[in-house]
Each structure stands twice: as structure tokens, then as C-alpha cells.
Amino acid sequence: MKRRGRGIACMWYPIGFTVAANPSAAVVKVNEDGTATLLTGTVETGQGSLTILGQIAAEELGIATDDVHVVSADTDSTPMDTGAIASRTTYVTGNAVRLAAAKAKAILFEVAAPMLRVKPDQLEARDRKIQVKGYPQRYLPIGEVANHAQVVMGEPPIGAASFNPATVALDPETGQGKPFSTYVYATQIAEVDVDDETGEVDVIRIVAAHDCGTAINPMLVEGQIEGGISMGVGFALQEEILFDAAGRQINPNLTNYIMPTSLDMPEIEVNIVKSYDETGPFGAKGVGEPTAVPTAAAILNAIHNAVGVRITSLPATAEKVLAAIKAKRAQEPKRIAAR
């Protein structure tokens, strides 16, 4: 008989990594027409980080995402970056990008101020324009300013900057210190059906609520959460590298190492919780890894809720769940149905 259960799990996760400093650097070049080129040493590994970084540069320069072309991941031409690791790209590289764009923008403001007969600190960059704060009708197209800066003033609007999260090394005796600059939080709730005759677990639904600071691009945040959950489902129920007695893997292939497919995926509801981190670029933190953190815990709690067995070792394969159900039944006093 299929028995339904639900389980909740929350988590916290740091942005950036400990042990060593983890800086990122960036270069932003504003072209003569007001479009821009961003140079970053981070690597796009499928998560969409280059889109996010382009959006951050665009926001700072007051231009659109498509106005920024991102050049990445070439050690000859792009500045150093600690890399696409530790959920740090949006926060750490993003901060570097924002600072670099701000430096390029400062050059544009220096150039635009006399053209608009104001001081540079009275200017703002919005909607592809450099305009006077409070007087948006007094403006110049950003391309006109950028061209003037380069061609007339001889000051190409290029900004370079780096960012390293503020941390304090842990005391080796007590472990006290500030290992990370900021953290994100999340909760996932899983609903499962457990077949108490076969031990099979079917994950029906997962409701996820994640904090990522400002969602620079909500669509990419959703993508990360859905992907993280699929990884969590595999970790919870299916995936395991097995070894023989001589220490050799016995299932190093996708025939015998079972991963979730689209058919194993639950219905997923994604919620992005409102949050703003003052230390992040436009309030953003990050979301990459945390999405895969609470899924297994939520599913295992749901199994417990459904059939009353606590599986203490992952993965909760059908065999393991069935054995636990049988062991539990063996311990229960035998009852004859009074019907």
C-alpha cells in the first residue's frame, strides 16, 4: 500500500570559501557607443553566471543587459578570479564587476559634468543616459558621453577593480572567527509516497523557499533550484558509488549508477524569499550550491513521516526502506484485525 508522508528541512550555507582568501577581479570597458565589454576570469559552467555578471555591470552603468558583452575565462586576456566555486560568483565576482563598472562610470561622470554644467556627484546613469539627479530632462545619451570621453578628452572609460570578502581566520583552539562574509538560508518541504510492500519511494512534490539576497535574475535562480533538487533526489534515493573488496569501483557507468531522470522528478514549486544583503552587489548573495543541500533531508523526513522508519544512511534505496519497514513490523506486537 502506498503511504503518503511529508518532511521539512531547512539549512544555512555560506557564500565564498574558507581556508584562503578568495578574491575576484574585473575590467569594464565602455565603448564609444555606450555599449560595454566586461572582462572576467570566471568560467560559465552552465549556471548562467555570465548573464548575471552582465546584468550587474549593466545596472551600474544604467544600460541594458544586452548592451554588455562578457568576455570570460582566458588567462591571457581576463583578470584573475578564484573561480566558479563555493556559490561565490554572484557575490564576489559580482562585487568586483560592480566596482569596476563604477570606476568606468566615474570617468563618464567627470566628462559629462562640464557638458551638463553640474558637478559629477550630481549625476546618475539610467536608461542609457547620463542625467542630472532630480532633473532627468537634463541628460546626455551615454554613447555621446563615452565617445566624447575617448575621442575628445582622451580618457577612455575603463574601470578595473577587485573584491575579496571580509573574513577573520578561525582560532585553531576554539574555532571562533568570521570564516565567511555572508550566508544564505533555505527550506524545502517534500511530499512522498512510500510503497510499504516494495520500499519504493516516489517524490511527489517539493516546495522550496530560498534566500539569495536580491535575485539578479529570478529565472536563473529558479533554474538553479530545480537543478539542485534533482541532484538532491539522486543523493537521497539512488546514487551511490560502490566498491569491491579490493577497492575498485563496481558501478562506474550510468547503467549501474542510477541517477534521477525527468521521470523521477517531483513537481517543484520555487519561492524566492525577499532579502537584501548590504554587502552584496545590489543586495545579492548567491544560490548555486544551497539548492542541493536540504532536499535529501526533507525526503528522508518525509519517508519517516510516511512509514515511521528512520533511514540513517543514504541513499534510501527501496531495499533499505523495505528492510527497515520489515524490522519495524517484527518489533511491533502482532495484532489480529478486529473486523
Binding site: V43, T45, A64, Y183
Partner: protein
């Protein structure tokens, strides 16, 4: 005569069949990809302000059309294919490697062994991993020799012709066994425990003494692979100026370049690392693997050399997620408030350190969960075993400890007859809460995530 007619009939029908087949057959060579000159830019990419927009990815169109060029799609004139011979034995001393027969195979352009690598060790923190094993084998997936040949098949055939003689050594596979004094040492004479972490807050014994209830639980997790769609792949090209260009799936090119420079004994500015679009990383592509091997094979042959891992190599020769044994002991008041928690973590580090120190640190710091606990003692050990190395993988120890602290939390809630949501809300961090390391936390929204998820799920609604 009858027989002849039969043959003729068959011939006619075959020809007819061929004709239809020709019309259906796809061209053997894919026609060159032509892009529309006018590319529509989605409106959302044109909007300002940019932050908060659901902007599409610039590479999405190419992915959607199957036109993204990954490393394995790239080819350079004269390019060779490399393959690495894996040890297949978990712990051994290499007595001899005979490559003569492989070198004699037509089509084989070069063979490389560990002794030819200028500095045969690397690693993100401890430099404990050989590029190719030269003296000792530490796990079954270790490379012992590499071949560059004109085709992938010849390179594979050549691997079979390399004769390696091993003297088996005692091995240890269980991390708890490996912690014992008399266990075989994976990297003798060093202890198998290669890093530890301790976090202390308050007074753990007083905390337990003041608790109404004590709960204990032990949890274990398994070893898993990242399984990116795209396996590790690289192409190395040594040019006549003594510079080497490496196209690679590396997720961290700055660190990768430094590691390659160290192993090749080259100034950093003579190395160019280009990472193209990477088909998934999840932490598994954070360190170099075959790059120095390909670079040296390219140097030997003067030709570009490509190496693409098979799926099996992805499993046996790259990093995996740490299995962790997690012991929890928690002191709780009658109302569900947690006042003391002791955690002991043993991480199976596999044969090499890789990113274990980061994983150890994160697992230990996060082990208590997002909860205010005044008295805490968390200790963690990472241990060498003669198995596939464990390293960075999405979550760095967090999915493991979250499984433990949240399972433990539900057991506590059930024993005290408290709703699992309520016990979490009772203990969760708030703005300004001190973390286990004494850090004052900001932008803390864990309770918001709990409430949002519960509301959207319908947690408090009556169950059918």
C-alpha cells in the same frame, strides 16, 4: 534458369530500395551551420534597469540549437588523441613500466610516464597527488602512463600494450579503520588523518547537565559523483616559442594555470588556459587532471593533443563527494529548545586531499544547523583511504550534515511531540544571532523561508 531469374529479381528490388534510401539518407557530413544575419534580441535583454530582469542567456540560443562547441567538438590540424592507463589496483609499488610495445604500435606518436613529469605532484592545498603515479599507486583510478596517437582507438590499443608490474601493498578502505594507529598508511609515514577542525562555544558538559532530554543519533552518507553532462576534456598545444595553450573544462583557470606551471616548471606567463563553455561542473572540475599530461605529450610530438575522459574515468579518476559518518548528541529542554550539541564528523577523504580542507571546514561550521545553540562542540576529521579521492561537490559537506541535523531534529520533535515546523521556528537563527564561530549574522531569513515553504505547502492545513 529459375535460379537466374531469382537473382535478377533480387537485384532489381535492392536497387529500388537503395534509391529510396538515398532520398531519405541524411548527408554524411553535417552541412555548415548558417546563422540568420538578423538575430532577434529578446526584449527582456533590452530593458533597464537590468537587475531583477528575467534576462535570457546569450548562450541559450546556441545550446538550444545544439551549436555550442564544447572542447570535444574542437579540432586542430594534426591533432592527436591521448588516453591514460589506469592502475586498477588500490595500493601498490610500481616495479616496472614497459612501454616499448606500445611505442612500436603504428600510429602511436608518444608515450609518457610519471617519471618524465618535471614536478609530479599537485593539489589545491596539500600537494599529495601525482599527475601520473611514478612510484606508488594510491587508488585504483591512478594514471600510470599516457599515450598520444593519431586516433583514439590506436591510443586505447596502445594502453593494452603497456606492461606495468606491481608489488601490492596493504590497503585501507574504511575511514574508521584508517584512523587506527596500526592501519596501513596511505601516504606513509604521514598519519591517515590529514586535517582536523574544532569549533567550541559555551560549555558543552554544563549544557548537557542542564538539559531535560538527551538525544543521540549516528548518520552516514555515501560517495557520489558529480556526473556533469560533459566529461573532463582538454586540448594542449605547445608552440615553437615555448608557450603552451590549453583549452580545458577547468572551472578555476587562475588556480589551474598555477598548478600547471608548477608541474611543468614553466613561468606562469608561458601558459594560456582557455575555458570554453563548460557542460556542468558541480565542483568536479575545480582542479587540473590530465592537463600537464597533454601538455607534455604535445611538447614531445609538436602537435596538438586532445584528451576526453570516458564516463568510467569520470567516476574512477576524478573527485567525488565525501562520505561522512556523523555522530550527534543533543541536549534539549522540555519545550524543545536546544541548549547543547556535540557533533563528531569523520570524512572519508579518499586517496588525496583535493578540496577536503574546505569541505571539512564547511561541514564542521555548518554541522549544528541554522539554530541558536549556546553550548556547542563540533569536531571533524578527514582521513585518507585507498579509494577514489573526494573533493569539492555542490555543498562542500553541507548536504551531508543537513541530512544528519534535520533527521535528528525530526527525531527530537517526534519524541517531544512537537510539530517539526514549530521546533525549527523555536530554535532558528534570527537577525544578529551569533553563529557557531561567534560571527554576528546579518540578513538572516531562515524563519521566513520556513514560514513561506510551510504556507505554500499547506503544512498547517488538516491532512486528508
Amino acid at each position: 534458369m529459375a535460379r537466374k531469374t531469382k537473382v535478377a529479381e533480387k537485384k532489381v528490388s535492392l536497387d529500388a530500395w537503395r534509391e529510396t534510401d538515398e532520398t531519405l539518407r541524411l548527408p554524411a557530413i553535417t552541412p555548415p551551420v548558417t546563422y540568420p544575419i538578423e538575430t532577434l534580441v529578446p526584449e527582456v535583454r533590452q530593458q533597464t534597469p537590468a537587475v531583477g530582469q528575467r534576462a535570457t542567456r546569450p548562450d541559450g540560443r546556441l545550446h538550444g540549437l545544439g551549436q555550442t562547441r564544447y572542447i570535444d567538438d574542437l579540432a586542430f590540424p594534426g591533432m592527436l588523441y591521448a588516453k591514460i592507463k589506469r592502475a586498477g589496483i588500490a595500493a601498490a609499488r610500481i616495479k616496472s613500466i614497459d612501454t616499448r610495445e606500445a611505442e612500436a604500435l603504428p600510429g602511436v606518436m608518444a608515450v609518457l610516464t610519471g617519471r618524465e613529469i618535471p614536478v609530479n605532484s599537485f593539489g589545491p592545498s596539500l600537494k599529495d597527488q601525482p599527475v601520473l603515479a611514478d612510484d606508488l599507486v594510491f587508488h585504483a583510478g591512478d594514471g600510470v602512463a599516457a599515450v598520444a596517437a593519431v586516433t583514439e582507438q590506436i591510443a586505447l590499443d596502445a594502453l593494452d600494450k603497456i606492461k606495468v608490474e606491481y608489488e601490492p601493498l596493504p590497503a585501507v578502505f574504511d575511514p574508521v579503520e584508517a584512523m587506527k594507529d596500526d592501519a596501513p598508511k596511505v601516504h606513509a609515514p604521514n598519519s591517515n588523518i590529514y586535517a582536523t577542525k574544532l569549533i567550541k562555544k559555551g560549555d558543552i558538559e554544563k549544557g548537557f547537565a542542564a538539559s531535560d532530554h538527551i538525544f543521540e543519533g549516528t548518520f552516514r552518507t555515501q560517495m557520489v559523483e558529480h556526473v556533469p553532462l560533459e566529461p573532463h576534456a582538454s586540448i594542449a598545444m605547445w608552440d615553437p616559442n615555448g608557450r603552451v595553450s590549453i583549452y580545458s573544462t577547468l572551472g578555476r583557470i587562475t588556480l589551474g594555470r598555477a598548478d600547471i606551471a608548477r608541474t611543468l616548471k614553466l613561468p606562469i606567463n608561458r601558459i594560456r588556459v582557455v575555458a570554453t563553455i563548460v557542460g556542468g561542473n558541480f565542483g568536479g572540475k575545480n582542479e587540473i587532471t590530465q592537463e600537464p599530461v597533454l601538455a607534455l605529450l604535445s611538447k614531445k610530438t609538436g602537435l596538438p593533443v586532445k584528451g576526453t575522459f570516458t564516463r568510467t574515468e569520470e567516476f574512477i579518476a576524478t573527485t567525488t563527494r565525501h562520505p561522512i559518518i556523523m555522530e550527534y548528541k543533543t541536549g534539549v529542554m522540555k519545550d524543545g529548545r536546544i541548549i547543547a550539541r556535540k557533533v563528531r564528523l569523520v570524512l572519508d577523504g579518499g586517496a588525496y586531499c583535493s578540496w577536503s580542507e574546505t569541505t571539512l571546514g564547511k561541514a564542521c561550521i555548518l554541522a549544528a544547523g541554522p539554530y541558536n545553540i549556546d553550548n556547542l562542540h563540533a569536531e571533524a576529521f578527514v582521513v585518507y583511504t585507498n579509494k577514489t579521492m573526494t573533493g569539492a561537490m555542490r555543498g562542500f559537506g553541507a548536504p551531508q550534515v543537513c541530512f544528519a541535523y534535520e533527521s535528528h531534529m525530526d527525531d527530537i520533535a517526534a519524541a517531544l511531540n512537537i510539530d517539526p515546523l514549530d521546533i525549527r521556528l523555536l530554535n532558528a537563527f534570527e537577525e544578529g544571532s551569533p553563529s557557531p564561530t561567534g560571527q554576528v549574522l546579518h540578513s538572516v531569513v531562515v524563519k521566513d523561508t520556513l514560514r513561506t515553504a510551510a504556507e505554500r505547502f499547506g503544512w498547517k492545513e488538516p491532512r486528508s
